[in-house]
Amino acid sequence: MKRAFTTDEIMTIAASRELIGARSCFVGIGLPSIAANLARSLHSPGLVLVYESGTIGAKPTRLPLSIGDGELARTADIVVSVPEIFNYWLQPGRIDVGMLSGAQVDCFANLNTTVIGSYEHPKVRLPGAGGAPEIATACPRTIIVMRQSKRTFVAHLDFLTTVGFGVGAGSRASLGMPGAGPSVLISDLGMFRPDPETFEMILTSLHPGVSVVDVRNATGWDLKVSGELIETAEPTDEELDYVRRLNFGTSAEATN
Protein backbone atom coordinates (compact mmCIF):
# COMPACT_ATOMS: atom_id res chain seq x y z
CA MET A 1 0.00 0.00 0.00
CA LYS A 2 1.31 3.39 -0.99
CA ARG A 3 2.01 6.10 1.54
CA ALA A 4 0.29 9.46 1.17
CA PHE A 5 2.46 12.49 0.46
CA THR A 6 1.87 16.19 0.13
CA THR A 7 2.35 18.22 -3.03
CA ASP A 8 5.26 20.03 -1.34
CA GLU A 9 6.87 16.70 -0.59
CA ILE A 10 6.79 15.42 -4.15
CA MET A 11 8.02 18.80 -5.39
CA THR A 12 10.96 18.72 -3.02
CA ILE A 13 11.77 15.09 -3.72
CA ALA A 14 11.59 15.61 -7.48
CA ALA A 15 13.98 18.54 -7.12
CA SER A 16 16.40 16.48 -5.05
CA ARG A 17 16.52 13.82 -7.76
CA GLU A 18 17.63 16.44 -10.27
CA LEU A 19 20.83 16.82 -8.25
CA ILE A 20 21.92 13.22 -8.84
CA GLY A 21 25.31 13.38 -10.53
CA ALA A 22 25.97 16.99 -9.56
CA ARG A 23 29.20 17.65 -7.69
CA SER A 24 28.17 20.92 -6.09
CA CYS A 25 25.08 23.01 -5.56
CA PHE A 26 24.63 26.71 -4.75
CA VAL A 27 21.66 26.73 -2.40
CA GLY A 28 19.10 29.40 -1.59
CA ILE A 29 17.04 29.11 1.59
CA GLY A 30 13.55 27.60 1.77
CA LEU A 31 12.41 24.99 -0.76
CA PRO A 32 15.83 24.88 -2.52
CA SER A 33 17.55 24.24 0.78
CA ILE A 34 15.24 21.36 1.64
CA ALA A 35 15.75 19.78 -1.78
CA ALA A 36 19.52 20.17 -1.72
CA ASN A 37 19.85 18.80 1.79
CA LEU A 38 17.58 15.92 0.87
CA ALA A 39 19.77 15.15 -2.14
CA ARG A 40 22.91 15.13 -0.02
CA SER A 41 21.32 12.93 2.64
CA LEU A 42 19.83 10.48 0.22
CA HIS A 43 21.10 10.31 -3.33
CA SER A 44 24.40 12.19 -3.40
CA PRO A 45 26.34 11.94 -0.15
CA GLY A 46 29.32 13.72 -1.74
CA LEU A 47 27.27 16.70 -2.92
CA VAL A 48 29.06 19.92 -1.97
CA LEU A 49 26.55 22.43 -0.61
CA VAL A 50 27.55 26.05 -1.08
CA TYR A 51 25.65 28.92 0.56
CA GLU A 52 25.95 32.61 -0.20
CA SER A 53 26.99 33.23 3.40
CA GLY A 54 30.37 31.85 2.32
CA THR A 55 30.06 28.31 3.67
CA ILE A 56 31.49 25.73 1.26
CA GLY A 57 30.93 22.02 1.79
CA ALA A 58 28.43 22.46 4.62
CA LYS A 59 27.11 19.17 6.00
CA PRO A 60 24.17 20.29 8.15
CA THR A 61 22.61 17.67 10.39
CA ARG A 62 19.39 19.68 10.60
CA LEU A 63 17.80 21.94 8.04
CA PRO A 64 19.34 25.41 8.31
CA LEU A 65 16.83 28.14 9.10
CA SER A 66 18.85 30.69 7.18
CA ILE A 67 21.76 30.74 4.80
CA GLY A 68 23.93 32.14 7.58
CA ASP A 69 22.99 29.46 10.09
CA GLY A 70 25.77 28.57 12.53
CA GLU A 71 25.24 24.91 11.64
CA LEU A 72 26.49 25.65 8.12
CA ALA A 73 29.68 27.30 9.32
CA ARG A 74 30.31 24.58 11.92
CA THR A 75 30.09 21.79 9.36
CA ALA A 76 31.71 23.48 6.34
CA ASP A 77 35.05 22.61 4.74
CA ILE A 78 35.78 26.32 4.56
CA VAL A 79 34.04 29.57 5.30
CA VAL A 80 34.98 32.46 3.04
CA SER A 81 33.85 36.08 2.85
CA VAL A 82 30.77 37.09 0.90
CA PRO A 83 32.80 38.88 -1.80
CA GLU A 84 34.92 35.77 -2.17
CA ILE A 85 31.99 33.35 -2.45
CA PHE A 86 30.60 35.35 -5.35
CA ASN A 87 33.86 36.40 -7.03
CA TYR A 88 36.05 33.30 -6.71
CA TRP A 89 33.49 30.50 -6.38
CA LEU A 90 30.19 31.35 -8.06
CA GLN A 91 31.23 33.70 -10.88
CA PRO A 92 33.78 31.39 -12.57
CA GLY A 93 31.16 28.62 -12.82
CA ARG A 94 32.76 26.33 -10.23
CA ILE A 95 29.41 25.37 -8.71
CA ASP A 96 27.59 22.89 -10.97
CA VAL A 97 23.99 23.62 -10.11
CA GLY A 98 22.08 26.56 -8.69
CA MET A 99 18.75 25.99 -6.90
CA LEU A 100 16.37 28.93 -7.13
CA SER A 101 12.81 29.90 -6.31
CA GLY A 102 10.70 32.98 -6.88
CA ALA A 103 7.37 34.71 -6.41
CA GLN A 104 6.65 34.76 -10.16
CA VAL A 105 8.00 32.79 -13.11
CA ASP A 106 7.24 33.24 -16.80
CA CYS A 107 7.29 30.79 -19.71
CA PHE A 108 11.02 31.43 -20.28
CA ALA A 109 11.80 30.65 -16.64
CA ASN A 110 12.62 34.23 -15.78
CA LEU A 111 11.95 35.02 -12.12
CA ASN A 112 10.55 37.90 -10.11
CA THR A 113 11.44 38.22 -6.44
CA THR A 114 11.29 42.02 -6.28
CA VAL A 115 7.75 43.47 -6.40
CA ILE A 116 4.12 42.66 -7.17
CA GLY A 117 2.73 45.70 -8.94
CA SER A 118 4.88 48.56 -10.14
CA TYR A 119 8.42 49.09 -8.88
CA GLU A 120 7.74 52.66 -7.79
CA HIS A 121 4.40 51.91 -6.13
CA PRO A 122 4.39 48.20 -5.39
CA LYS A 123 1.36 46.34 -4.14
CA VAL A 124 3.69 43.89 -2.44
CA ARG A 125 7.33 44.60 -1.84
CA LEU A 126 9.24 41.29 -2.03
CA PRO A 127 12.78 40.68 -0.73
CA GLY A 128 14.63 41.45 -3.96
CA ALA A 129 17.47 39.83 -5.85
CA GLY A 130 19.85 38.36 -3.28
CA GLY A 131 22.23 35.98 -4.98
CA ALA A 132 19.80 34.74 -7.62
CA PRO A 133 20.75 36.80 -10.70
CA GLU A 134 24.39 35.74 -10.52
CA ILE A 135 23.54 32.14 -9.63
CA ALA A 136 21.37 32.10 -12.76
CA THR A 137 24.20 33.68 -14.78
CA ALA A 138 27.17 31.62 -13.64
CA CYS A 139 26.05 28.12 -12.68
CA PRO A 140 26.36 25.63 -15.56
CA ARG A 141 22.69 24.82 -14.90
CA THR A 142 19.92 25.86 -12.53
CA ILE A 143 16.87 24.19 -11.05
CA ILE A 144 13.83 26.27 -10.12
CA VAL A 145 11.47 25.04 -7.41
CA MET A 146 8.25 26.93 -6.66
CA ARG A 147 4.59 26.39 -5.89
CA GLN A 148 2.32 26.84 -8.86
CA SER A 149 -0.79 28.97 -9.37
CA LYS A 150 -2.00 31.56 -11.85
CA ARG A 151 -0.52 34.12 -9.41
CA THR A 152 2.96 32.60 -9.59
CA PHE A 153 3.14 31.16 -13.13
CA VAL A 154 2.43 34.35 -15.06
CA ALA A 155 2.37 35.56 -18.64
CA HIS A 156 4.24 38.76 -17.72
CA LEU A 157 6.48 39.28 -14.74
CA ASP A 158 5.85 42.47 -12.79
CA PHE A 159 9.66 42.78 -12.52
CA LEU A 160 12.43 40.70 -14.07
CA THR A 161 14.80 39.98 -11.20
CA THR A 162 16.58 36.89 -12.52
CA VAL A 163 17.04 35.84 -16.14
CA GLY A 164 16.19 32.27 -17.12
CA PHE A 165 16.03 32.28 -20.91
CA GLY A 166 15.18 35.96 -21.38
CA VAL A 167 12.98 36.21 -24.47
CA GLY A 168 13.95 32.74 -25.66
CA ALA A 169 16.55 31.29 -28.03
CA GLY A 170 19.78 33.29 -28.13
CA SER A 171 18.99 35.54 -25.16
CA ARG A 172 21.51 34.07 -22.75
CA ALA A 173 24.34 34.18 -25.27
CA SER A 174 23.58 37.77 -26.23
CA LEU A 175 23.53 38.74 -22.54
CA GLY A 176 26.93 37.09 -22.01
CA MET A 177 25.59 34.52 -19.54
CA PRO A 178 28.00 31.56 -19.41
CA GLY A 179 25.68 28.98 -17.79
CA ALA A 180 23.15 26.94 -19.79
CA GLY A 181 20.18 28.21 -17.78
CA PRO A 182 17.33 26.37 -16.04
CA SER A 183 17.32 22.67 -16.87
CA VAL A 184 14.03 22.18 -15.07
CA LEU A 185 11.24 24.05 -13.30
CA ILE A 186 9.59 21.94 -10.64
CA SER A 187 6.27 22.88 -9.08
CA ASP A 188 3.88 21.13 -6.75
CA LEU A 189 1.95 19.98 -9.86
CA GLY A 190 4.57 18.88 -12.33
CA MET A 191 7.89 19.46 -14.05
CA PHE A 192 8.74 21.71 -16.97
CA ARG A 193 11.80 21.62 -19.19
CA PRO A 194 13.02 24.03 -21.85
CA ASP A 195 12.11 23.28 -25.45
CA PRO A 196 15.47 22.80 -27.18
CA GLU A 197 14.48 25.17 -30.02
CA THR A 198 12.44 27.91 -28.37
CA PHE A 199 13.61 27.58 -24.76
CA GLU A 200 10.02 27.96 -23.60
CA MET A 201 9.34 25.79 -20.54
CA ILE A 202 7.03 22.95 -21.50
CA LEU A 203 5.24 20.49 -19.26
CA THR A 204 7.20 17.24 -19.35
CA SER A 205 6.01 15.44 -16.23
CA LEU A 206 2.86 15.38 -14.09
CA HIS A 207 3.08 14.58 -10.42
CA PRO A 208 0.90 11.56 -9.46
CA GLY A 209 -2.81 12.43 -9.39
CA VAL A 210 -2.40 15.70 -11.30
CA SER A 211 -3.97 16.23 -14.74
CA VAL A 212 -2.88 18.45 -17.62
CA VAL A 213 -6.04 20.46 -17.01
CA ASP A 214 -5.02 21.02 -13.39
CA VAL A 215 -1.69 22.38 -14.57
CA ARG A 216 -3.25 24.54 -17.29
CA ASN A 217 -5.62 26.02 -14.71
CA ALA A 218 -2.64 26.99 -12.61
CA THR A 219 -0.60 28.49 -15.46
CA GLY A 220 -0.93 32.08 -16.61
CA TRP A 221 0.43 31.49 -20.10
CA ASP A 222 -0.64 29.27 -22.96
CA LEU A 223 1.02 26.12 -21.71
CA LYS A 224 2.71 23.74 -24.14
CA VAL A 225 2.76 20.07 -23.23
CA SER A 226 5.49 17.65 -24.24
CA GLY A 227 4.58 14.89 -26.69
CA GLU A 228 6.35 12.54 -24.28
CA LEU A 229 4.61 13.57 -21.09
CA ILE A 230 5.40 11.23 -18.21
CA GLU A 231 4.32 10.85 -14.61
CA THR A 232 6.75 11.82 -11.90
CA ALA A 233 7.91 8.72 -10.01
CA GLU A 234 6.22 8.48 -6.62
CA PRO A 235 8.30 9.18 -3.56
CA THR A 236 9.98 6.14 -2.10
CA ASP A 237 9.62 5.36 1.60
CA GLU A 238 13.20 6.39 2.08
CA GLU A 239 12.68 9.72 0.34
CA LEU A 240 9.59 10.46 2.40
CA ASP A 241 11.29 9.52 5.65
CA TYR A 242 14.19 11.82 4.88
CA VAL A 243 12.14 14.78 3.75
CA ARG A 244 9.97 14.57 6.86
CA ARG A 245 12.96 14.29 9.12
CA LEU A 246 14.65 17.30 7.48
CA ASN A 247 11.56 19.42 7.41
CA PHE A 248 10.91 19.07 11.11
CA GLY A 249 11.06 22.24 13.07
CA THR A 250 11.68 24.77 10.34
CA SER A 251 9.67 26.66 7.81
CA ALA A 252 9.67 26.21 4.05
CA GLU A 253 7.94 29.49 3.34
CA ALA A 254 10.72 31.86 2.44
CA THR A 255 11.91 32.01 -1.11
CA ASN A 256 15.58 32.89 -0.79
Partner: protein
Amino acid sequence: MAEFLTLESAIAANVHDGDVVALEGFTHLIPFAAGHEIIRQRRRDLTLVRLTPDLICDQLIGAGCARKLIFSWGGNPGVGSLHRFRDAVENGWPRSLDLDEHTHAGLANRFVAGAAGLPFAVLRAYAGTDVRAANSTIANVTCPFTGEVLAAVAAIRPDITIIHAQQADRAGNVRLWGITGVQKESVLAATRSIVTVEEIVDNFSDDRNAVVLPSWTVTAIAHVPGGCYPSYAAGYSERDNDYYEAWEDLSRDRAVFEDWLERRVYERGSA
Protein backbone atom coordinates in the same frame (compact mmCIF):
# COMPACT_ATOMS: atom_id res chain seq x y z
CA MET B 1 43.87 53.97 17.17
CA ALA B 2 40.52 52.66 18.32
CA GLU B 3 39.03 54.38 21.35
CA PHE B 4 37.18 52.34 23.96
CA LEU B 5 33.80 53.98 24.60
CA THR B 6 30.38 53.11 25.93
CA LEU B 7 27.98 52.24 23.16
CA GLU B 8 26.01 55.39 23.94
CA SER B 9 29.09 57.60 23.55
CA ALA B 10 30.31 55.75 20.47
CA ILE B 11 26.99 56.28 18.67
CA ALA B 12 26.64 59.87 19.88
CA ALA B 13 30.12 60.76 18.63
CA ASN B 14 30.04 58.91 15.32
CA VAL B 15 26.51 58.63 13.93
CA HIS B 16 24.98 61.89 12.73
CA ASP B 17 21.66 62.74 11.12
CA GLY B 18 21.93 62.23 7.37
CA ASP B 19 24.90 59.83 7.54
CA VAL B 20 25.39 56.82 5.30
CA VAL B 21 25.47 54.04 7.89
CA ALA B 22 26.50 50.48 7.03
CA LEU B 23 25.51 47.84 9.59
CA GLU B 24 27.05 44.55 8.51
CA GLY B 25 27.06 40.92 9.60
CA PHE B 26 25.61 38.13 7.44
CA THR B 27 22.99 36.45 9.71
CA HIS B 28 25.89 36.07 12.14
CA LEU B 29 27.20 38.97 14.31
CA ILE B 30 24.48 41.50 13.40
CA PRO B 31 25.01 44.67 15.50
CA PHE B 32 21.50 44.90 17.01
CA ALA B 33 22.49 46.71 20.21
CA ALA B 34 24.10 49.48 18.17
CA GLY B 35 21.00 49.69 15.98
CA HIS B 36 18.81 50.09 19.06
CA GLU B 37 21.08 52.80 20.40
CA ILE B 38 20.70 54.69 17.11
CA ILE B 39 16.92 54.42 17.53
CA ARG B 40 17.17 55.67 21.13
CA GLN B 41 19.29 58.62 20.06
CA ARG B 42 16.56 59.37 17.45
CA ARG B 43 18.89 59.76 14.50
CA ARG B 44 17.06 60.81 11.33
CA ASP B 45 17.52 60.80 7.55
CA LEU B 46 20.05 57.99 7.62
CA THR B 47 20.97 56.05 4.52
CA LEU B 48 21.23 52.49 5.76
CA VAL B 49 23.49 50.03 3.93
CA ARG B 50 23.19 46.28 4.46
CA LEU B 51 23.20 43.30 2.08
CA THR B 52 20.39 41.68 4.08
CA PRO B 53 18.52 44.41 5.97
CA ASP B 54 17.19 41.74 8.35
CA LEU B 55 15.29 42.73 11.48
CA ILE B 56 17.83 45.39 12.42
CA CYS B 57 16.96 47.60 9.45
CA ASP B 58 13.26 46.73 9.81
CA GLN B 59 13.45 48.18 13.32
CA LEU B 60 15.41 51.28 12.28
CA ILE B 61 13.03 51.91 9.36
CA GLY B 62 9.95 51.40 11.52
CA ALA B 63 11.37 53.80 14.09
CA GLY B 64 11.71 56.48 11.42
CA CYS B 65 15.51 56.71 11.36
CA ALA B 66 16.02 56.06 7.64
CA ARG B 67 15.31 57.96 4.46
CA LYS B 68 17.06 55.49 2.15
CA LEU B 69 18.08 51.84 2.08
CA ILE B 70 20.93 50.36 0.03
CA PHE B 71 20.46 46.60 0.07
CA SER B 72 20.35 43.33 -1.85
CA TRP B 73 17.85 41.02 -0.10
CA GLY B 74 15.23 42.32 2.29
CA GLY B 75 13.40 39.44 3.94
CA ASN B 76 13.19 37.72 7.31
CA PRO B 77 15.45 34.78 6.41
CA GLY B 78 13.61 31.46 6.50
CA VAL B 79 10.52 33.12 8.01
CA GLY B 80 8.88 35.73 5.80
CA SER B 81 8.71 39.46 5.23
CA LEU B 82 10.20 42.56 6.77
CA HIS B 83 6.87 44.26 7.47
CA ARG B 84 8.25 47.62 8.58
CA PHE B 85 10.38 47.79 5.42
CA ARG B 86 7.32 46.82 3.37
CA ASP B 87 5.11 49.36 5.12
CA ALA B 88 7.63 52.11 4.34
CA VAL B 89 7.95 51.10 0.68
CA GLU B 90 4.30 50.23 0.09
CA ASN B 91 2.66 52.92 2.22
CA GLY B 92 5.31 55.46 3.13
CA TRP B 93 4.93 54.78 6.86
CA PRO B 94 6.40 56.24 9.00
CA ARG B 95 7.99 57.98 6.03
CA SER B 96 8.90 57.20 2.46
CA LEU B 97 12.02 55.17 1.83
CA ASP B 98 14.28 55.55 -1.19
CA LEU B 99 15.83 52.33 -2.42
CA ASP B 100 19.20 51.62 -4.06
CA GLU B 101 18.82 47.97 -4.83
CA HIS B 102 21.50 45.51 -5.91
CA THR B 103 22.29 41.85 -6.00
CA HIS B 104 24.44 40.36 -3.23
CA ALA B 105 27.38 40.10 -5.63
CA GLY B 106 26.91 43.69 -6.74
CA LEU B 107 26.63 45.22 -3.29
CA ALA B 108 29.46 43.07 -1.92
CA ASN B 109 31.65 44.36 -4.74
CA ARG B 110 30.64 47.96 -4.02
CA PHE B 111 32.16 47.43 -0.57
CA VAL B 112 35.21 45.77 -2.16
CA ALA B 113 35.78 48.82 -4.37
CA GLY B 114 35.35 51.09 -1.35
CA ALA B 115 37.85 49.08 0.68
CA ALA B 116 40.30 49.04 -2.22
CA GLY B 117 40.15 52.79 -2.77
CA LEU B 118 38.89 52.28 -6.32
CA PRO B 119 35.92 54.13 -7.82
CA PHE B 120 34.28 50.95 -9.12
CA ALA B 121 34.41 47.17 -9.24
CA VAL B 122 33.86 44.82 -12.16
CA LEU B 123 31.71 41.69 -12.15
CA ARG B 124 29.68 39.53 -14.50
CA ALA B 125 26.21 40.44 -13.28
CA TYR B 126 22.89 42.19 -13.79
CA ALA B 127 22.67 41.36 -17.52
CA GLY B 128 19.08 41.42 -18.72
CA THR B 129 17.52 42.20 -15.35
CA ASP B 130 15.21 45.03 -14.34
CA VAL B 131 17.38 45.42 -11.21
CA ARG B 132 19.89 47.09 -13.42
CA ALA B 133 17.52 49.28 -15.38
CA ALA B 134 16.51 51.42 -12.43
CA ASN B 135 19.90 51.90 -10.86
CA SER B 136 22.46 54.65 -11.45
CA THR B 137 25.16 52.86 -9.46
CA ILE B 138 25.37 50.09 -12.08
CA ALA B 139 26.96 50.67 -15.48
CA ASN B 140 28.76 48.88 -18.31
CA VAL B 141 32.49 48.47 -18.66
CA THR B 142 34.24 46.87 -21.61
CA CYS B 143 37.27 44.62 -21.20
CA PRO B 144 40.15 46.28 -23.07
CA PHE B 145 41.62 42.85 -23.90
CA THR B 146 38.61 40.74 -24.96
CA GLY B 147 35.88 43.27 -25.68
CA GLU B 148 33.49 41.52 -23.27
CA VAL B 149 30.96 43.89 -21.74
CA LEU B 150 30.74 43.47 -17.97
CA ALA B 151 28.97 45.22 -15.13
CA ALA B 152 30.60 48.00 -13.14
CA VAL B 153 29.28 48.96 -9.71
CA ALA B 154 30.15 52.22 -8.02
CA ALA B 155 32.27 52.05 -4.87
CA ILE B 156 30.42 52.63 -1.64
CA ARG B 157 32.13 54.57 1.14
CA PRO B 158 29.89 54.77 4.21
CA ASP B 159 30.35 57.64 6.62
CA ILE B 160 30.26 55.01 9.31
CA THR B 161 30.25 51.22 9.43
CA ILE B 162 29.09 49.39 12.53
CA ILE B 163 29.81 45.71 13.15
CA HIS B 164 29.77 43.29 16.05
CA ALA B 165 32.79 41.02 16.64
CA GLN B 166 33.74 38.32 19.07
CA GLN B 167 36.86 39.94 20.53
CA ALA B 168 38.98 43.02 20.88
CA ASP B 169 42.35 43.02 22.57
CA ARG B 170 43.41 45.80 24.93
CA ALA B 171 45.30 47.56 22.14
CA GLY B 172 42.03 47.83 20.23
CA ASN B 173 42.65 45.21 17.58
CA VAL B 174 39.43 43.40 16.64
CA ARG B 175 39.05 39.72 15.80
CA LEU B 176 36.09 37.88 14.30
CA TRP B 177 35.58 34.40 12.92
CA GLY B 178 32.94 32.06 11.55
CA ILE B 179 30.73 33.60 8.88
CA THR B 180 32.43 36.95 8.35
CA GLY B 181 30.32 38.22 5.45
CA VAL B 182 31.46 41.55 4.15
CA GLN B 183 32.49 43.01 7.51
CA LYS B 184 36.16 43.56 6.74
CA GLU B 185 35.36 45.35 3.48
CA SER B 186 32.59 47.43 5.05
CA VAL B 187 34.89 48.68 7.82
CA LEU B 188 37.80 49.37 5.45
CA ALA B 189 35.46 51.21 3.05
CA ALA B 190 34.09 53.54 5.72
CA THR B 191 35.32 56.89 7.00
CA ARG B 192 34.59 55.89 10.61
CA SER B 193 33.77 52.60 12.29
CA ILE B 194 32.32 51.28 15.52
CA VAL B 195 32.81 47.70 16.66
CA THR B 196 30.80 46.23 19.52
CA VAL B 197 32.48 43.15 20.97
CA GLU B 198 31.52 40.17 23.07
CA GLU B 199 34.75 40.17 25.02
CA ILE B 200 37.92 42.13 25.60
CA VAL B 201 40.91 39.81 25.87
CA ASP B 202 44.56 40.21 26.79
CA ASN B 203 45.81 38.36 23.74
CA PHE B 204 44.31 36.70 20.73
CA SER B 205 45.15 33.07 20.13
CA ASP B 206 47.78 32.32 17.55
CA ASP B 207 45.48 32.11 14.53
CA ARG B 208 46.72 34.95 12.37
CA ASN B 209 44.64 34.03 9.34
CA ALA B 210 41.35 34.92 11.08
CA VAL B 211 39.80 38.25 10.18
CA VAL B 212 41.55 40.88 12.22
CA LEU B 213 41.01 44.60 12.00
CA PRO B 214 44.04 46.43 13.38
CA SER B 215 43.28 49.05 15.98
CA TRP B 216 44.19 51.88 13.59
CA THR B 217 41.40 50.89 11.19
CA VAL B 218 38.70 51.19 13.86
CA THR B 219 37.34 54.42 15.36
CA ALA B 220 35.58 53.15 18.48
CA ILE B 221 35.11 49.88 20.34
CA ALA B 222 32.29 49.27 22.81
CA HIS B 223 32.18 46.23 25.04
CA VAL B 224 28.62 44.94 24.56
CA PRO B 225 28.26 41.24 25.41
CA GLY B 226 25.23 39.88 23.57
CA GLY B 227 25.28 42.97 21.36
CA CYS B 228 24.23 40.91 18.35
CA TYR B 229 21.15 39.33 19.98
CA PRO B 230 18.86 37.90 18.50
CA SER B 231 21.56 37.14 15.92
CA TYR B 232 24.45 35.05 17.20
CA ALA B 233 28.18 35.17 17.85
CA ALA B 234 29.93 31.88 17.05
CA GLY B 235 31.62 30.64 20.20
CA TYR B 236 29.48 32.87 22.43
CA SER B 237 25.78 32.53 21.67
CA GLU B 238 23.09 30.85 19.57
CA ARG B 239 20.68 32.61 17.24
CA ASP B 240 17.26 33.16 18.83
CA ASN B 241 15.18 31.70 16.01
CA ASP B 242 11.99 32.21 18.04
CA TYR B 243 12.61 35.96 18.06
CA TYR B 244 12.89 35.91 14.27
CA GLU B 245 9.69 33.88 13.97
CA ALA B 246 7.83 36.08 16.46
CA TRP B 247 8.91 39.16 14.52
CA GLU B 248 6.68 38.05 11.63
CA ASP B 249 3.54 38.79 13.68
CA LEU B 250 4.91 41.44 16.00
CA SER B 251 6.06 43.64 13.14
CA ARG B 252 2.99 43.24 10.97
CA ASP B 253 0.91 45.72 12.97
CA ARG B 254 2.07 49.30 13.45
CA ALA B 255 0.66 49.62 16.95
CA VAL B 256 2.13 46.34 18.13
CA PHE B 257 5.49 47.36 16.67
CA GLU B 258 5.34 50.77 18.34
CA ASP B 259 4.53 49.18 21.64
CA TRP B 260 7.51 46.84 21.19
CA LEU B 261 9.70 49.82 20.32
CA GLU B 262 8.59 51.68 23.44
CA ARG B 263 9.09 48.77 25.80
CA ARG B 264 12.11 47.05 24.30
CA VAL B 265 14.14 49.91 22.94
CA TYR B 266 13.26 53.34 24.30
CA GLU B 267 12.64 52.24 27.90
CA ARG B 268 15.68 50.04 28.06
CA GLY B 269 18.31 52.73 28.07
CA SER B 270 21.79 51.91 26.90
CA ALA B 271 22.43 48.22 26.32
